[in-house]
């Protein structure tokens, strides 16, 4: 596993190829858009997606926390696919979340899919969180005036990017940052994605930005000029 070091508003951060941000000095691991219980959310409406997505997502999260042993875990919203999600957790998955959170400060940032978190899920919930020079929220905030937003870490958009290589186009989930903001890829097993060149994402960023594509054990950084738009 090779992480990519970046600096955001003066804070050195590590981007992990699993799709998480690690702030070593802060003892912090950040993930976005877990979308737990997305499968069962669809099943309720008669679309019988495989019921293994929560398990798959928690497997990856557990590996990540075992590696970094953070004091604090921040989930950047849309942790559950819908507000009833926590209620549908299988008992084993519920126990697992509790075990992961034990002895840690666990913060559920609320998102548009989960504006309210069930109290019995453990941890605490917040609309946003500021630690030192960094602000953690679900969806990037547009600058209200001439003062740019600095040090913002967010999720929501599920960024994806593609690049033309010598053989073919390669695309996948990515981090995207312009040095002031950092947007995380979705961590959830069934989460879809949006191209970073879509105005919804690129419009939030300065003209120069980098996308860090997730490789199997490392990240690959590309400046905006090297990216190609691709929807699927």
């Amino acid at each position: 596993m090779v992480t990519a070091p970046i600096e955001l508003n003066g804070v050195p951060l590590l981007l992990d190829p699993a799709g998480a941000v690690v702030w070593r000095d802060g003892g912090l691991v950040v993930v976005a858009d877990l979308h737990l219980e997305k499968g069962s959310s669809f099943a309720r409406r008669g679309t019988m997606l495989p019921p293994y997505d929560t398990q798959a997502t928690l497997d990856r999260l557990a590996r990540l926390l075992r590696r970094y042993q953070p004091r604090t875990v921040v989930c950047l919203g849309d942790s559950f696919h819908d507000p009833d999600g926590p209620g549908r957790l299988a008992p084993t998955d519920r126990t697992r979340i509790a075990a992961l959170a034990r002895g840690r400060d666990w913060i559920w940032i609320t998102g548009n899919h989960d504006p309210v978190l069930a109290a019995d899920i453990g941890g605490r919930s917040a609309a946003e969180l500021a630690i030192g020079p960094l602000t953690f929220r679900h969806e990037a905030r547009r600058a209200a005036g001439p003062v740019p937003v600095r040090g913002e870490v967010s999720g929501h958009f599920h960024p994806k990017a593609s690049v033309a290589t010598s053989a073919r186009r390669v695309s996948g989930r990515c981090f995207v940052t312009d040095g002031q903001r950092l947007i995380l890829p979705a961590f959830g097993a069934f989460a879809g994605g949006l191209d970073v060149l879509d105005p919804a994402i690129s419009g939030l960023l300065r003209r120069q930005f980098l996308a860090f594509l997730l490789g199997s054990d490392r990240l690959f950084a590309f400046p905006r000029e090297q990216l190609q738009r691709r929807a699927a």
């Binding site: 090779v2 990519a4 070091p5 970046i6 600096e7 050195p12 499968g39 069962s40 099943a43 309720r44 008669g46 679309t47 019988m48 997606l49 495989p50 019921p51 293994y52 997505d53 398990q55 798959a56 299988a90 690049v163 033309a164 290589t165 010598s166 053989a167 073919r168 390669v170 940052t177 312009d178 040095g179 097993a189 069934f190 989460a191 879809g192 994605g193 120069q208 930005f209 980098l210 594509l213 490789g215 199997s216 490392r218 690959f220 950084a221 590309f222 400046p223 090297q226 738009r229 691709r230 929807a231 699927a232």
Partner: protein, 810 residues
């Protein structure tokens, strides 16, 4: 056989006589089968009254005993054909003064008329397999079909062995249960596997009479190789267009068949460039707007066109007696397919059809010669229908539940009696039913959200009526690639292109579409906006559609021709020289060895294997070879597969190819690769859509194909990891093995190659290898994703790894 007077009632005899016709023997045989209450399979060349033969018994019955209610159901693979047949039937009905109502019902029929048709059906209804599935899903299906006397399935050969055919076979079995006395009639072109077709049309009920129509006169087929340069590669045959144009000018009406939509656009463009006489030449392919296609068909039927350039979109259907020449541009890929295309010309059986084959490159010259030999020998090819697909069965089970509660035992018996599902094990059927019930996952997490409920009597019923609504919005087995409409400015829609093509365009790019050169302006509201352009070299639409792999039979003939220099004298000069040069520089692929060449080129090392097993098998082989090369540290970067060869390129040279072709690759390697390949993901997406796991359409919400693509890949990954034996994954693997991966032919090839790999290390590219390296559409190596990203990102990675002191962006 009885004579006409005995079988044909007086008005019908008079009708035939008034037109100066005498009924064909096979038309009378069809009447005889109907009188005996037998189902029938009519195998006859297109035209010559085949469709009338299908309807004649119904007209006679209805004339003798007019009765309200649906009497005859006609099912065609094409909406246009259903409409056309309805129109053609009007003439005899009017002339005979029969009190018979005939209507069509397709996706284009207004909802109000569809509702009325269910209440008060016509006596004859022309429809498609999808519309039949829909009608069967309503609770009133037993009333609607209760008095049905006969089902006529047109172009059965084109349906059997496809997923649409599976759905229709299940529908036929359903109809058999709803109307036990009904008969089935199949109308088919000549095929290599009539027995399977007979079982297919029988749908497990009663005896089927096979009736063979008069054989057409031997076709007059020639190969056109113009003087001068014969291309090494490419599929457009632009070099031959002046000669093609002359042939069109000399004939009455010509169909110019091509294999892909991109070919159609280029050929059309080239013909118009040469069209000094302003001959009316039109274009017809599946991407064009429906109205445009209909206009071309109508103009053709009215004899207003001199030529139409068409893909397989015109393989079936509309009967144009006026066509007197068929030109096949590009290799025909199969003997049966060629015979069917040739049969599109001159529907009068007493005169020979005339056809010209136009090979686009040197390999295609060989293939055309082989096809010509096969046609002359009267050999037919093509594979018999493969077993029915489980995703289609899942759709049918849900559809059956939509119509009303069903017993699993009864349905199993009905399903297993059809030809596609004849070998279906009960356990497999039960797994499909369980999937429909609650997803069928081992982790039975969804029991509270079942789609089917078990009634006290053990039957299964729909858990909620909303499920039926959704089923009806998603019925069918045609899963289309995501497409974007192409508009002229914000105005007229010209047709649709695949999304990946549209996304590869940047404003200002030009491309050929619908016979015009267009300039890409942008994408707006899920549509490509374009303006007419002039000049520039166009980018060519590279559509996926329309590619057929070379049949085994033709492949064998091509290989035999290569191995026997005695046959080369009848080949055109440049081809003969090309083969001589190959024999001199390298070697020729023998009848039962496997020639493998290796040579360096630029910074890369190439390996070319002359397998002749068709693109799909080669595609699979390419994947497996590059996996092994990866493991051997040869750093493969990609491969390309054609119908004839597979070529790989790598950073390190292959020194000993034989072990790479070991048959063992069909075991673990294949399993492993299948599990990871994008091809499987694409196949899974289709399976998931057909089986109703992912919906194309949702009441009140159009789901874009884009979302479907993305979700299904992730679902595939999760399902594969957690439940590799799930029924949908089994269906996906079966699909891939039969279709795009063609594992059967790959097995044949590897068995043949055992101990017979003929390796020729060469200093440079061989003559025979030139065409393959000119092929576009290269497939990357799955595992190479990270290599490729690394290569592209190397500079930046170095910069990043300098550490936190050097932020990537300052």
């Amino acid at each position: 056989m009885s004579t006409a007077p005995a079988l044909l009632p007086e008005p019908f005899r008079a009708w035939f006589a008034a037109r100066g016709w005498s009924p064909h023997a096979y038309q009378l045989a069809m009447v005889e089968a109907a009188t005996a209450g037998d189902s029938a399979l009519l195998i006859a060349p297109t035209g010559g009254g085949k469709t009338l033969a299908g309807f004649l018994p119904s007209l006679i019955e209805l004339a003798a005993a007019p009765a309200p209610g649906l009497h005859t159901l006609y099912i065609s693979p094409l909406k246009a054909l259903a409409v056309d047949v309805q129109r053609n039937l009007q003439a005899p009905i009017a002339e005979l003064g029969l009190p018979v109502t005939v209507e069509t019902r397709t996706g284009d029929t207004p909802a109000s008329r569809r509702a009325r048709q269910r209440l008060r059906p016509p006596q004859m209804l022309m429809t498609t397999p999808e519309s039949l599935a829909l009608m069967l899903s309503y609770a009133d299906a037993p009333t609607l079909f209760g008095r049905l006397s006969v089902v006529v399935v047109d172009e059965v050969h084109a349906l059997a062995g496809t997923k649409r055919g599976d759905l229709l076979a299940l529908g036929l079995a359903r109809l058999g249960a709803l109307a036990p006395a009904s008969r089935r009639v199949g109308l088919s072109a000549t095929v290599a596997w009539p027995d399977a077709l007979e079982q297919w049309i029988g749908a497990g009920r009663g005896h089927v009479r096979r009736i063979v129509g008069g054989a057409a006169a031997a076709a007059d087929v020639s190969i056109l190789v113009p003087e001068g340069r014969l291309p090494w590669g490419g599929h457009m045959a632009v070099h031959a267009m002046p000669a093609v144009y002359r042939a069109i000018a000399e004939a009455g009406t010509t169909i110019v068949f091509v294999n892909t939509r991109a070919q159609a656009e280029i050929v059309f463009q080239e013909l118009w460039r040469l069209n000094a006489a302003n001959l009316p030449i039109a274009l017809h392919h599946g991407s064009l707007a429906v109205e445009q296609r209909r206009r071309v068909e109508a103009a053709m039927a009215e004899g207003r066109l001199r030529a139409v350039v068409a893909t397989s979109s015109l393989d079936l259907g509309i009967d144009w007696a006026a066509v007197d020449l068929v030109i096949q541009v590009g290799a025909p890929k199969g003997a049966s397919r060629l015979v069917q295309r040739i049969g599109r010309s001159n529907h009068r059986l007493d005169r020979p059809s005339r056809a010209i084959l136009v090979p686009a490159n040197r390999f295609e010259v060989l293939e055309c010669s082989a096809a010509l030999d096969a046609v002359a020998a009267g050999t037919l090819d093509g594979q018999a229908p493969r077993p029915g697909a489980l995703d289609v069965l899942a759709q049918h089970v849900l559809g059956t539940a939509c119509a009303g509660p069903f017993g699993a035992d009864t349905l199993y018996v009905e399903v297993a009696a059809t030809q596609p599902f004849a070998g279906l094990a009960r356990a497999e059927f039960d797994a499909v039913v369980r999937y429909v019930e609650d997803g069928g996952y081992a982790l039975g997490g969804y029991e509270q959200w079942r789609r089917l409920a078990r009634l006290p009597d053990g039957r299964l019923a729909l858990a909620h009526p909303a499920i039926a609504r959704r089923y009806r919005m998603n019925v069918g087995t045609i899963v289309e690639a995501t497409t974007l409409k192409v508009r002229l400015g914000r105005g007229r829609v010209l047709g649709e292109v695949e999304e990946y093509f549209a996304l590869g365009l940047t404003p200002g790019d030009t491309f050929l579409f619908a016979g015009r050169l267009l300039r890409f302006e942008g994408i707006r509201d899920m549509a490509v906006e374009a303006r007419p352009a002039s000049g520039d070299q166009p980018k060519i639409p590279a559509y996926a559609g329309g590619r057929m792999p070379l049949t085994t039979h033709l492949a064998d003939r091509v290989r035999a021709m290569l191995a026997d220099p005695g046959q080369w004298d009848r080949l055109p000069g440049p081809v003969h020289e090309w083969l001589d040069l190959q024999r001199h520089r390298s070697a020729l692929p023998g009848s039962d060895d496997l020639l493998v060449e290796t040579f360096p080129r630029g910074a890369l090392h190439y390996m070319v294997a002359y397998c002749f097993e068709g693109r799909n098998a080669h595609q699979t082989l390419g994947m497996l070879l590059t996996r092994r090369m990866e493991r051997a540290g040869l750093k493969p970067l990609g491969f390309v597969a054609t119908d004839y060869v597979v070529a790989t390129w790598s950073l390190e040279p292959v020194r000993d190819p034989a072990p790479l072709f070991d048959e063992e690759m069909l075991g673990d390697d294949l399993e492993e690769w299948m599990a990871e390949s994008t091809l499987l993901k694409r196949t899974f997406r289709n399976v998931a859509v057909i089986a109703g796991l992912i919906e194309r359409r949702h009441p009140g919400q159009e789901k874009s194909g884009r979302q479907v693509t993305f979700n299904s890949d992730l679902i595939y990954d999760v399902l594969r990891r957690h439940e590799p034996d799930h029924i949908l994954l089994r269906a996906t693997r079966a699909d891939a093995a039969e279709g795009l991966t063609d594992v059967r032919r790959l097995g044949r090839l590897l068995a043949r190659a055992r101990g017979r790999v003929l390796h020729r290390p060469l200093p440079r590219i061989s003559p025979l290898a030139v065409p393959v390296l000119l092929e576009i559409g290269r497939e990357g190596v799955e595992g190479a994703r990270d290599h490729l990203l690394e290569e592209t990102a190397a500079a930046l990675v170095a910069e990043m790894e300098a550490g936190p002191d050097a932020p990537a962006i300052s």
